[in-house]
């Protein structure tokens, strides 16, 4: 089909098409410059501010109703929480946001396994909280962990993870083991070897389909956490291959795996959650924050079946715990700092402890009745205040390293392979070393 057009018409059409093409191009090239909305826009016309808190796992603020309370105290401020279930997924996202300088919340949680790396490499991105918050209130090592070389404290301590042992009374009873807290603690007074011996006793009469422990990697973590030397030495050199605590933890884990005392679950994953729901594990090594996880996943049906006793051999160790940090790039740094100060104050930490059992890092909270005489109804009213406060005072000051989190995860994965696949300890250790060296290298 042949179309004849007037010359002028053609030219106009060409012009239109050409300009359209160029406009589209221009739009495409400029349209990628928009940064993502970080959720904080400063104050609106009425002076109302929305603060965003990005965290992971369970910080307990929602459960304790603290954000609503803060809004009541400061009607102009609303707090929104954005929670990532697994810290492992949360941390890379945080690093990306720090690198690009966009998408950060007003308050960001940081896990203890990452704090050293953040302090070493990203301290400049965070506000110094020591000017506003009295850091001497925390247990002594907590502030040290978050202190940058410049002396700035970039994270406010939320909780610490003193060690205990959670056990399922019902399963213990069926297997003919004592169910009384003191009695159970006495049977394990010699330490983790006694714990494994108790496990063998459990196995003899264990109810069908149940296991003494959920995961040997938890025991490994408890052993490593109880030592001042973990994966790095004081000069910052990785020494995980020679570290006595790593070796001891690994050997115990290998023994538990070979004797089939563990169900070999990767903690926090779906199957682990299912095991709690179905009550197929009799004991879980319990840093304070673990109790909240157990009550969440075991659900109301298992209320009162669980109990808490002191960790084997009275292990005093810190596993986990977190910090709240305020990125400098936020639009409401001052308000965010106030919020962090309030959230980590003794009263609020006590409230969170009461709600989900994560233990305060603020020593001012230890004397509050909410902590001192705290019991967890879910755990047969176990006197957790007393159990943890004793442990918290004697926790050794651990040397942290930048890749602690990755090292712990890699070794845990291989412990799981020994449990689940019967991988030989030597082969599993080699695989762990390969991954860890990649992470450090």
């Amino acid at each position: 089909m042949r179309i004849t057009r007037s010359v002028a018409g053609r030219r106009r059409r060409t012009a239109i098409v050409a300009t359209t093409g160029l406009t589209v191009t221009a739009l495409l090239l400029t349209g990628c410059g928009g940064s993502s909305d970080s959720g904080s826009k400063g104050a609106d016309a009425d002076g109302n501010i929305t603060l965003t808190v990005a965290d992971f796992g369970q910080f307990g603020y929602k459960e304790a109703g603290l954000f609503e309370k803060y809004h009541e105290l400061n009607p102009k401020i609303t707090v929104k929480e954005d929670t990532t279930a697994e810290e492992k997924n949360y941390y890379p996202k945080l690093l990306q946001q720090l690198n690009s300088g966009s998408g950060l919340a007003d308050v960001q949680g940081i896990e203890v396994g990452r704090i050293k790396e953040i302090v070493d490499t990203k301290a400049d991105s965070f506000t110094d909280l020591s000017k506003v918050i009295d850091v001497d209130q925390w247990v002594s090592w907590k502030a040290k962990q978050a202190t940058a070389p410049s002396g700035a404290v970039i994270g406010a301590g939320t909780d610490i993870g003193p060690m205990s042992l959670c056990y399922n009374r019902e399963l213990f009873e069926k297997a003919g083991l004592p169910t009384d807290r003191a009695e159970v603690a006495k049977r394990m007074s010699g330490g983790w070897e006694d714990y494994l011996a108790l496990g063998e006793e459990y196995k003899k009469k264990a109810p069908e389909g149940t296991f003494f422990m959920d995961s040997a990697s938890a025991m490994f973590n408890a052993v490593v956490s109880s030592s001042p030397e973990q994966y790095y030495d004081a000069s910052g050199k990785p020494v995980y291959k020679e570290s006595a605590s790593v070796r001891k933890g690994w050997n115990l884990a290998a023994e538990a795996a070979s004797k089939k005392l563990t169900q070999g679950l990767a903690q926090f994953e779906d199957q682990w959650q299912a095991a709690l729901r179905k009550s197929t594990v009799a004991t879980v090594v319990c840093p304070a924050w673990m109790a909240g996880q157990i009550s969440t996943y075991a659900g109301d049906a298992n209320q009162g079946k669980w109990d808490i006793t002191t960790a084997p051999g009275g292990t005093s160790a810190n596993w986990g715990g977190s910090f709240l940090a305020v990125p400098k790039s936020g639009k409401n740094v001052e308000e965010a700092t106030k919020l962090v100060k309030w959230l980590t104050a003794p009263e609020q930490q006590a409230a969170v402890f009461k709600a989900i059992g994560v233990f305060p890092s603020n020593q001012g909270a230890y004397e509050l009745p909410d902590v001192k005489s705290a019991t967890l109804p879910y755990f047969n009213n176990a006197p957790i205040g007393q159990i943890y406060a004793d442990g918290a005072k004697s926790i050794p000051e651990a040397v942290l390293g930048p890749k602690d989190g990755v090292i712990k995860d890699s070794i845990s994965t291989q412990i799981n392979n020994m449990e689940q696949r019967g991988t030989k300890p030597d082969a599993a250790w080699d695989a762990a070393v390969r991954t860890v060296d990649k992470a450090i290298g």
Binding site: V7, L28, N99, T435, K438
Partner: protein
Amino acid sequence: MATSTPTRDAHVPPPRPPQKEPPSERRQLWRSRLWRFDDKASPYAYIAPFFLVFGAFGLYPLLYTGWIALHRVSMTGLDTMEWVGWENFDKILHDPEFWTSVSNTFLIGVISTVPQLLMALGLAHLLNYRLRASTFWRTIILTPYATSVASAALVFALVFRADGGLLNWTLGLVGFDPVNWANGHWTSKLAISIIVIWRWTGYNALIYLAAMQAVPNDLYEAASLDGASRWQQFLKVTIPSLRPTILFTIVISTIGSMQLFGEPLLLEGGALGATGGNENQYETLSIYLYNYGWNLGHLGPAAAVAWAMLALLLLIAAVNWLIGRAARSSDSAVRTGATR
């Protein structure tokens, strides 16, 4: 758009001494110059958007990734780059996990692509017949393609779950023991392949169908006059006519399986997904890259993996091209009756 452009050389007037030109003539000359410029330049304006966008979002990242691959860069300090030359490539080539993920990628690629394309051919052949509500069927087979990777992978993750999974429950009804799908080396690869097959079979079937519709009908008529059955017609007429299309789908599927990421990441999810299973049994190259860059925090080796993937793809493409050429030449030899 069925318009043909008229040729425009008629507008060029014979050259004249310019000072004698009446104004209208001069304008005519100017106009014709504009015409010619328009003729030469506007096609570039039309294709410019693609090339500008490709330059900004395709070429630049590609080259920059290559630049990163030659440096030590960590996630915690993107601003400090230290030149290390080929060290990152050396590192990944000596990492057994890299080779595990190469072989995983190929195995999953083969067990997902081959059945997928065969099924797609069969489906397309069936849809090519006259049947009732053909548009409906054609839409139905495309629906899996319309779902997002994430939702498909999450649903299949529930199907393949070790305890309480739909598949194990069904197997239990028949009397089989439950299988820990994600944990086994073969079962996990099979599970991922099934997700891929489910998503892409319909898409490929539609491409084949479009190609089949273009096969001239007289070929089939001639074949049936010669007494060829339906099956023989499919083998001797349909398949040879579809050869270029089949080659195209093979290339596309290869590139797709090379980049498998979402399915293995979400099969178990969480920490296990990010390392491709507890023994890296379903770790694909993309997962290896992601794990190296984002979990371990070293972007140099991760970028090197990206370039290694490109090299592998080019290698596969070259092999494909050689096979295609060999097939074509042997074909023409048969056709021209070059028999001894």
